[in-house]
């Protein structure tokens, strides 16, 4: 059969690959009328190179990136994938109870100074208690696994990491000081706004709208199955590399909690979030854009 092929570049064994593997295993791509090809990559930078270099049709990343690309004239579009966010963790035995206790202490942050979780938490601390995390603490940016380790060893007093590390941190004896979604809510942002999504080139969306719709359909079907069918997750176990039952459970719960509601993204809520990020992250994050450029989100 001559089904059109769509290639997604994704971290091998990463959370995205859970969904992609589910799609392929249950034939959800064929059901939606296309063939899903997966290009395994070893990290986020590689996925970006693959997309930019035209070797992949889609990757999963956040829509800030899309907004920035659009602002610089590159036509990329965003299809919601997950609203899962991380949080700030401290060791169980830590004396830190409030964010303000972190004054003069070290925070380890995965993903760099433009990490969305970090920016949201900064905005929240500033608004909630006039506490400027950036000024009052020392930040150590590093690769996610290193931040995890630094948090566990107590080398940093708090750690902000990607959501799938939450489970590991919790399992290893850390507690969440504040979750990013709580912080977002407190800021008046909509926690339902999915941050991560499939990013496709505008050209593909224009030329093969059916193919893109089919990806959306297959993705949704996979999410539905993973949300309800424990066996479907159980099948992914070897891929997930959970070290124990608790971690596995936390990963499953985290994934499920991150599944965005069906329907289009609330552009107004997104615009609000973007405006806040633009202030905190500056041009480094959003580039020349001052407001959310139009056309980031694909209509459902």
């Amino acid at each position: 059969q001559d089904l059109p092929v769509l290639t997604v570049a994704a971290l091998e064994g990463g959370t995205v690959s859970w969904e992609l593997d589910t799609i392929r295993h249950y034939g959800l791509d064929r059901a939606a009328g296309f063939t899903l090809a997966v290009m395994p990559v070893a990290g986020n930078p590689a996925a970006q190179v693959a997309l930019q270099g035209g070797a992949a049709d889609a990757i999963v990343t956040d829509w800030f990136w899309v907004a920035r690309m659009r602002a610089t004239g590159q036509d990329y579009r965003f299809l919601p994938y997950s609203k899962a966010v991380g949080g700030m963790f401290v060791r169980n035995d830590s004396s830190v109870r409030e964010v303000t206790d972190l004054k003069g202490k070290k925070i380890g942050i995965a993903g760099g100074p433009l990490d969305k979780s970090w920016l949201v938490l900064r905005a929240w601390a500033l608004q909630a208690g006039g506490f400027d995390l950036a000024k009052e603490t020392e930040q150590v940016f590093g690769a996610p696994p290193l931040i995890l380790q630094a948090g566990l060893s107590g080398e940093v007093d708090a750690a902000i990491n990607f959501w799938h590390f939450n489970a590991k941190m919790q399992a290893a004896g850390m507690r969440q000081l504040i979750s990013v979604s709580e912080a977002a809510q407190a800021l008046g942002l909509d926690p339902e706004t999915p941050l991560l999504g499939y990013v496709l080139s505008g050209k593909l969306v224009e030329e093969k709208p059916a193919l893109v719709a089919a990806l959306a359909q297959a993705s949704r079907a996979a999410k539905d199955r993973l949300a309800n069918d424990d066996a479907a997750f159980d099948r992914l176990r070897p891929l997930m590399k959970a070290q124990d039952e608790a971690q596995y459970a936390a990963l499953v719960a985290g994934y499920r909690a991150g599944i965005p509601a069906p329907g289009p993204v609330d552009e107004a809520a997104a615009a609000k979030m973007f405006a806040l990020m633009a202030v905190l992250g500056g041009a480094d994050l959003v580039g020349p854009a001052t407001a959310l450029p139009p056309g980031v989100f694909l209509p459902d």
Binding site: L11, E12, G13, G14, M39, P40, V41, A42, G43, P45, A46, V49, A50, Q52, G53, G54, A55, A143, P144, P145, L148, Q149, K241
Partner: protein, 245 residues
């Protein structure tokens, strides 16, 4: 041979001691964790395709870079005027970060094997050029005079006068080169390939599987040790035969 194995055994023991001292198998796995993982990968054959892919890339780009770099280094060394013009370029190309070359190669050539090999070779050529040029600069002038009097042809001069004097520099460049190339191949595989030891190693790192990272690294170290013992060392010894007699 025996001494080399004994010396490696000592190294493994030291490592075992260190890891026992640190007593943190997750972050500082010892040989007792890593070697079985490596062995597992080898007997199950799981590591072999990646090893083969990486070896092919290393081999190809090594060959290209050594040939180009040696030729360029000899040319620049013999033509000081050209050299004075191109010297700043060498510094520039030597200083451009591997990341930049790699990304640009992938973007401009495409996300394929040629781009990967071109990126590695590009990173390595200026280094080889530089090392060989330094060697050419100190070539013995009296032997050049001898070759001139006896009208030795360019190929004969290269073979009998120039290359033997460059041997220590070539050996240096080859050794430094293999090490450097493999480091770059790791990044190349990380940024745009779907197989290879570098790909695996970064995946393991993402999963914070230090044992896996080390097992992958060791696989390549083992290959390099074999290459060194079976190829480079004998070649170097052959080139130095006259000195040791």
């Amino acid at each position: 041979m025996f001494r080399a194995l004994a010396s490696l055994a000592v190294l493994v023991l030291l490592w075992a001691g260190l890891s026992a001292l640190l007593a943190d198998p997750l972050r500082a796995p010892g040989p007792q964790q890593v070697l079985p993982a490596l062995w597992q990968g080898i007997v199950s054959g799981a590591i072999l395709p990646d090893l083969a892919a990486t070896l092919r890339r290393v081999g190809l780009s090594f060959a290209i870079a050594m040939a180009t770099g040696t030729a360029a280094g000899i040319a620049l060394g013999l033509m000081p005027r050209l050299d004075r013009w191109l010297d700043p370029w060498l510094t520039v190309f030597n200083t451009i970060p591997a990341l930049v070359t790699i990304v640009l190669c992938y973007l401009w050539i495409g996300l394929n094997e040629s781009a990967a090999i071109a990126a590695v070779a590009l990173n390595k050529v200026p280094l080889v050029t530089l090392m060989l040029r330094e060697g050419v600069r100190v070539l013995a002038p009296d032997l050049a005079a001898m070759a001139q009097v006896y009208r030795m042809g360019p190929l004969a001069r290269l073979h009998h006068i120039v290359l033997p004097q460059l041997a220590p520099h070539l050996v240096s460049a080859a050794r430094a080169g293999l090490a450097l190339i493999w480091k770059i191949v790791l990044v190349v595989e990380f940024l745009g390939r779907s197989d290879g030891i570098g790909f695996r190693l970064h995946l393991d790192f993402q999963m914070f599987d230090i044992t896996g990272v080390l097992a992958n690294a060791l696989a390549f170290v083992a290959v390099m040790l074999a290459l060194e013992a079976l190829l480079i060392a004998p070649l170097a010894a052959r080139a130095a035969r006259w000195r040791d007699a």
